[in-house]
Symmetry: C4
Subunit: 255 residues, 4 copies
């Protein structure tokens, strides 16, 4: 019966999906991803599931595209929608990291250079203090030899999750970076500021001389503070994508 297949979403789930759609548009608008890349969040009421779009460019994701997966990255109710080839990254990290509730696979250009050169990111400013926990570099070739440079199996995803360890960000050689956080907002914040920091760090390296990084206790305190104000950039970035879809180019509400 058609009625039987009707999918019912709780208010909590609806709100989570709306946030996830916004996050997709934000990371596209802010240059964190291009036509590829993906952002997921743990299911708001079932920690053994996560939410992730079907296989579409983040900028074009809508609520109907959001699929539900178990932690083995098996779709719960695909209804004909094709998932991302790399969804296993998300499931493996949610399994390995109970503290993580959002995962982003980003394709920001500056970070790619650090990954290719095997140079870890180190925080240049307070908003990137989360980088002080380390930015391990994952080279799939070291683990699996010649691949198509995508993480497309549970085994590959587990190796990536092991490389990530307890860090907030992992550099993925020849592909991009992965940012995780306790919430969708913090993960978006980290994906964005990892790229921002890579740009600053590259420029400081070019200027020459010693660089003073944010480090030690200072980094811990700065990160704690920034996590408490994650609403500020989120609200701004969200206003920008909403304004764009209305045909204005400003992130200000019209008052």
């Amino acid at each position: 019966m058609a009625a039987k297949r009707k999918y019912v979403r709780s208010d909590e789930l609806r709100a989570a999906i709306a946030d996830l759609v916004d996050a997709n548009h934000i990371i596209a608008d802010q240059g964190v991803v291009d036509g590829f890349g993906h952002v997921s969040m743990r299911h708001p009421t079932n920690p053994l599931r996560y939410l992730l779009s079907k296989n579409v460019a983040p900028e074009q994701v809508s609520a109907a595209d959001i699929m539900e997966f178990d932690l083995d990255s098996v779709p719960i109710d695909a209804r004909g929608r094709s998932p991302y080839l790399e969804r296993f990254i998300h499931g493996a990290i949610y399994k390995a990291r109970p503290d993580v509730n959002s995962v982003i696979n980003a394709h920001s250009p500056w970070v790619l250079s650090f990954a290719a050169n095997k140079i870890p990111l180190r925080p240049m400013h307070n908003k990137a203090a989360f980088l002080a926990g380390g930015t391990p570099i994952f080279d799939i070739r070291d683990h699996f030899g010649a691949t198509n440079m995508l993480v497309t199996t549970p085994e590959q995803a587990e190796a990536l999750a092991r490389a990530l360890g307890g860090s907030a960000v992992l550099l993925y050689r020849g592909h991009g970076h992965v940012a995780v956080g306790p919430s969708l907002r913090v993960a978006v914040f980290r994906a964005y500021y990892a790229e921002f920091n890579a740009r600053l760090q590259a420029r400081s390296m070019a200027l020459g001389g010693p660089i003073t990084f944010v480090e030690g206790e200072e980094a811990v305190l700065a990160d704690e503070t920034m996590q408490r104000v994650d609403t500020r950039p989120w609200d701004l970035w969200k206003a920008k994508v909403k304004a764009k879809s209305k045909g204005t180019s400003s992130g200000r509400a019209r008052r």
Copy 2:
């Protein structure tokens, strides 16, 4: 009585607040700040007070968000609005510098690299001549050990104001820069051109060979001239933000 609490603003104050709102939008539109950062101005009729938005991204500030503070950075009539954590920077500078009527805490990316590398900015062109007065570098760690990298106490703000001395710009390691001026327009001009100059200076350093800076009497004369034409970029930048909020992307009036 409710009527008693009604807040009456003079025409002069209204005009000042309108300018301050424009300045918030301009510094966001011109990339001087991101979701964080703030701009204040001294109260137009009471030099012992200053005006600063509540805790919101500069791009989203409206007139109703503008709060009044005394020079200890205590809000006069908060009406439930939360102030910026770092408002003390503004109060301390207004106390220490009677010549200053506007303060900006900027987060421009290029300047951050100069701050991290402890390389002073030096003027590359006539519009940045104000940099010839020196760009001291403030590292909060040198004064207060491990902090969350924000200036959140009167003592920290006083240390920053002392470091600023009589300069127009201070580089704030791991955080951003502070630009001050005799007027809101000049402060906005300086915050913008400090970043513009950092970009030029980094590129000139990369090109190699000696760099001819604007210096000495030349810098004094250039700065005097530029302060007299501060209306030109202000009018342009203001037209741009007005046009954006109307859904066009041009700074030209339609005639």
Copy 3:
């Protein structure tokens, strides 16, 4: 008789022309070309002909501008339209490379520096894996002495096609680069990611230290995978240009 001159296009040809017009707008919007540069495709039903716009900036191409040429680059039915001076590049490559169904002459800035310095591009990430097949550098001066730096004769175009050999991309000193592909979408993808890769490679070279490129079997596998997902960026880029022409600045459909 006027009716006799009416030009009849098959549905298949109409669809191909619509795609080619979109490709023109996409490469302009994505910065692959400026006011100059051109994109062609092999005729969908006659492999001895190709389609290319008349002499106009890619951003301004419309369906009525698309001309048909034989492989000697002679227009079939010009109807007063002036062709590009450099159309011979397209004809010569279609002759030499039966596997190629689309050719782009790009003017992206980063690639120009690699051409001038005679440094080949090498793939920094999975999406640029097609570069692993080599990026020969063509200097017209080596073959023809002083020219106006345009390929404007069949002989010059044949020399360029010989230099291209079996590669996907050729760097054209002092002018730009040429990207080819088995389809219009793949050629657009390659023209775009060649520039993206040049930027990454330049930055990695500046960071110092050894760079891990995508290479060998890994590059072959990555390229095969990326060619299968060429619809994703195409759909996104196309949505962006459609949205722009409607006055919004977002690539999202309004739903």
Copy 4:
């Protein structure tokens, strides 16, 4: 009598002014100038006069702002409009160079670094071939000691014109660059591609190794060809500014 003061413009003059207004908007839109900078053209029917906007940001110029000057840069009929302080640059060049019919004082950022480092620009690609004629560097300090870094007297302007000699572009230390051409379109083209070339040249210098420039006979031929196709970028750039003022962000006409 009021009627007597009515200013009558010939059709030819009207067309020239319309072009000049477009040129102002184009150079702002393309980043050749910021809030400052200016573009002039020789009067279409009186070679002893030139046309230049009143003192306003180029992006905001309209037809009513265009003033007429004699070659001593004295306004013919100011009607209360304030001229640019630096108008003398224009008059001095028109006097010294009968072949020049348009002058642009640009403020593009990359060129400023070459001026400060006293490194001449050399053409990296066919569209910048006009640079092969030399890019002399003018340092006002060498001639006049400490100034406000503006060319504000006939003497200073004559020194600049002498430094320019027969070249198409002059680098003006600490200020910007000057581009001249036989027509408004060619001057705009040159101002734009001088900046584009500076960016390429800086990147090539950073990549290391010898750079192959466009030079000798090749540069002469390339420049001749490019001058014949100056309509193409002009039409595109003009369409972009027209589209912006209508609230779309595309340079395509809607068809």
